[in-house]
Amino acid sequence: MSGPELVRPETLADLVALRAAHPDRTLVAGGTDVMVGVNFGRLRPSGVIDVGRVAELRAHEVVDGVLRIGAGVTFGRIETSLADVVPALATAARGVGSPQIRAAATIGGNLGTASPAGDAHPALIALGASIELASVDGTRLVPADAYFLGPGRSVRTEREVVAAVRIPVGDGIRQEFAKIGTRNAMVIAVAAVAVVVDLERRRIGVGLGSVGPTPIRAARAEALLAAALWPDGGERVPPTAETIAAFAEEVRRSARPIDDVRGTAAYRAHAVQVMARRCATWCLEEVR
């Protein structure tokens, strides 16, 4: 390794150049994942790239119906500033850790860590978000449901950084997020569900967390609910309790949970079904 051990680029151009030159260095944003590894001796980075000074990563804006959230935006800011724009993501943000964690932890860091339990992921998948990955070669967009490869693994290469997420927004997009944990604060999700009903585009989105090796998109359940709400692509039919129950059952079938210290597979499967039913009911209550 050459150059100083700690670098703090201030522009995205400098960040991606440093990333290309030093792919072995550890990227640190809020530190809430990396520092746990450091403090417990699991991680001894020889060099660190602190992304916290890059102003471009700390902005969010809506342009032409798309919300772009910079990777360095904290969950605290998503919780307080974006609750009206992306309520499901804001609800997920509010459930992250504690106020101290939300003040530091960023959405880009959540994606960089790529945990199957990451709180932002189900909402991003359900909302049809894209992940903006930047490198010296340019920027590419990856759909959120194609980003995750396994626990802690994603399609992001060692030359890339998460630059932003892009989320379609609009008045007709109903959205809910629910998470189960052992208490309200400071928990890693035992299971999480996000449901989106986009009345304009006639699109259903369902994202699941902590019930598989990656966050999961429940595509079959999406198709089932869309077909029931807009039969043969026609006018909207009010949802029945049976429709929502069939949807929730299909969501449960999409889950691939395991037994671990936080919960059993059977409990997780049950929990996603219940949360899917509740989220869909909440989304559709407003549109009957």
Binding site: N39, G97, A104
Partner: protein, 155 residues
């Protein structure tokens, strides 16, 4: 590496800091500021809470190098702060201190809260304190202390 850290309004030069050292270890081991406690080292307990650029964060989760160029305020730096003073007095008056280990973290967090939201409701206070663990008091007396501090500050 060599760092210049603005802690409690004073710039300290710290030599030979490893890239992976946390702000907490530098505060305690280099600057002899022992008010920020080292407990869980994973952001669960809030005992190491400090203000960085006015925001309450766990100093165990901040790289020391990340804090350079930012304003760090520890519980020691809140000695003369009027909000923190009321919080400390109220914690004593309400019986919100038993073993005292978690207390500095609660003082920092509550001070940050009452600066931003002087009239925070009790549920908002409980939510704001969710990242600070106390194994003695059962929290009721700590929450009561925050209400007392709010009442005093509102006079």
């Amino acid at each position: 590496m060599r760092l210049e850290l603005d802690v409690n309004g004073q710039v300290h030069t710290v030599e030979d800091v490893a890239v992976w050292e946390s702000l907490l270890t530098v505060l305690r081991d280099r600057l002899a500021l022992y008010g920020s406690k080292n407990a869980c080292e994973q952001g669960e307990c809030g005992s190491c809470s400090v203000l960085v650029d006015g925001e309450v964060v766990c100093s165990c989760l901040v790289l020391a190098g990340q804090a350079e160029g930012r304003s760090v305020v520890t519980v020691e730096g809140l000695d003369a702060d009027p909000i923190a003073t009321e919080v400390r007095c109220a914690l004593v008056a309400a019986g919100g201190v038993q073993c005292g280990f978690c207390t500095p973290g609660f003082v920092v967090t509550a001070t940050g809260l009452l600066r931003d939201q002087p009239c925070a409701s009790e549920p908002a206070v409980r939510e704001a304190l969710a990242g600070n663990l106390c194994r003695c008091t059962g929290y009721s007396k700590i929450v009561e202390a925050i209400a007392r501090a709010q009442a005093e500050l509102g006079r």
